[in-house]
Symmetry: C3
Subunit: 274 residues, 3 copies
């Protein structure tokens, strides 16, 4: 299923502009190189649009946003839209502060995103910022489970329709939705939650996969989500022999991404169309 | 001795707001997750107080301070005080520049700290900023040794009394002082000095341990200092088989923290009350 | 050849002020400690000159430059010049945006550099900023190969004369030039290009080696370039047993630097004077 998607990443070597947080930025840069893309991090207002114009895609992550970088996010996003580059939004902590919630709203108003990836709580804040009906709040606040999957899928498909973006709600079970189709993905390992930045890294990989597969944003996003989760599972297995630990998991996860091939991904992806 | 302290961290999973430097921030985030807490890094002035209000503790580290983030440190510190959250100060490089010395002074004037952790030179600068008598400068400038321990202990207890904070002077020998009691701790390995950020990481772990044990700031700080040092010792032993090196030590140290249990800590802590 | 140079680093333990990018800054700090130096990262305008005055050398890396840090680079650079400290320029992405190209130009106008290290494209932009003749553009745009080496060497020697700096053009083949002599260096492993920051790390190590060997900037730079490349080769061999991967390579590279001795460096350096 994912062979063509991975091959396109390897062939096109997408250059991804990352305006992201300073906590996980090094891991984002390294996982982009590992998956076959390459990163540029540039967040000054004077060059944000210019840098994005020479790239293939853009990822905007508000993890350590500040008044200076918010302007750069908007400028780069708008330039990427003009040039038809895919833009990924990672609304880290949206809902946790007025600044993050307002910034998410401004980004959604001024930039068209190809993919929006976050946890249940962050996507709920995104939905509210899209003027979404109050009725789905109950479905949106809980983590996605096998039991509530259909309910969350309906809400995610509607949000995808409203925003024009693929909606990726990640957690123990990942839900990836476009207006016409939804995937349930069960890759990953619980220890990944003890590694800072697995979500940030995933958003960067999504940007690379979508930039290399611009006509298949939903499947490219699904491929990226499966890849990260599978790399986490393989990493966990790999580190057990030496005792293991959360820092070794982080190193092994990036290692696994640098060695991932289509056969392994297709063999290990736990994905169903729903 | 430390079983209850560690159990509280595991049970409460304290959320720690870190306004810290961009050199070691990723390791601080990962060691917080490893020890049982979790991190939020947020340094914009508009959200610093708001983010701190949803956390359990705050750590302020001036390692790469700038005029923008200094305001955020003050605002977050004051909100944490209002809410009764413990605040840890790591006055990195205090004394090395006017900016760092003045900022340390402003922080001490406007924020009540639960713990102040630094090396001999930084703590001396803190003492001077507290209007401390000149007479102890001689004792304060040298590293803590077995020979001068009593002298440094007396000065540290006085500084604790003046600031209301637990004073942690870390080095080859660590001295942890409150007005009523002092601990000498001898955990650690010399190779840790070749890893950037072991001090920054320790301050983050202290914040988590104190946030989970708010009525025992001295013992919680001592537990954190023993834990970091012991994890360094275990990490050093672990990496020798494969040849070793300073980057492997850093990874192994965080791994060891993610696997640390009370029995190991109690068995390996080299601590005496003095 | 390099024994004296390495010994000087070990003996003098140069303190290097790094005004660098937030993507690779942790690796830069750790590789400085690994090679025998130590790092201070400080980029606020109020303290940049003051911090540089207590250091032995300065490295300026424009990787994530912003309007605030540019001022700090200029101030620190000028203070370093006044004090006779070596200054290394890493013009990351010069040519990719107006901001980077203009900033590189301003830096070259206001600061005297001891070493300028970059890839072919960045050094070309440096040359243009030095008012260099148009005639060498053809030679400057391509990567250095065995076939065009003499041509690039001539241009690099001229640029060294114009700037007063050792010129280090790094790639699969590295070319290190001063006005009187040129070295060709063939150390390194292709996988290093999949690790973010190997160039940034190299610039930091160059600063340490030159600070410890101020009368031999060309040979010190050559030693640093050989060392980084050789550590990459040794790291690649080291990680193969366990499956390998790009994150493991990064860790092993820093490990190898922390264990590097003169005998290994002299034995493994692939360097010829040309």
């Amino acid at each position: 299923m994912f062979e063509e998607i991975l091959n396109n990443v390897a062939t096109k070597m997408p250059l991804i502009h990352c305006i992201t947080n300073y906590v996980t930025v090094n891991d984002c840069a390294n996982i982009l190189l590992a998956c076959g893309g390459s990163p540029i991090m540039a967040d000054d207002e004077q060059e944000a649009a210019e840098i994005t114009s020479i790239c293939d895609g853009l990822t905007i992550n508000i993890g350590t946003l500040n008044s200076r970088t918010i302007h750069s996010m908007l400028k780069a996003g708008q330039r990427a839209n003009q040039l038809g580059h895919p833009v990924v939004l990672d609304p880290v902590g949206a809902g946790a502060s007025e600044l993050r919630t307002q910034t998410t709203r401004r980004l959604l108003e001024q930039v068209r995103f190809s993919v929006i990836r976050g946890n249940s709580s962050e996507i709920k804040t995104v939905a509210q910022g899209s003027g979404f009906t109050k009725g789905v709040d109950a479905a949106a606040v809980d983590a996605t489970t096998a039991q509530n999957f259909e309910q969350v899928a309906a809400y995610a498909k509607q949000l995808s329709q409203t925003t024009g973006a693929v909606i990726a709600i990640t957690g123990a079970i990942d839900l990836i939705a476009a207006s016409e189709r939804v995937y349930m993905i069960r890759n990953g390992h619980p220890m990944m939650s003890k590694v800072s930045g697995t979500g940030c890294m995933l958003s960067a990989v999504i940007a690379a996969f979508v930039a290399a597969n611009p006509t298949q944003p939903l499947d490219a996003t699904a491929a990226a989500v499966c890849a990260m989760g599978l790399c986490g599972e393989l990493a966990f297995q790999q580190i057990q022999a030496a005792g293991g630990g959360t820092a070794s998991l982080r190193i092994a996860l990036i290692d696994q991404m640098s060695r991932l091939d289509a056969a392994t991904l297709n063999g290990g992806a736990k994905i169903e169309a729903r």
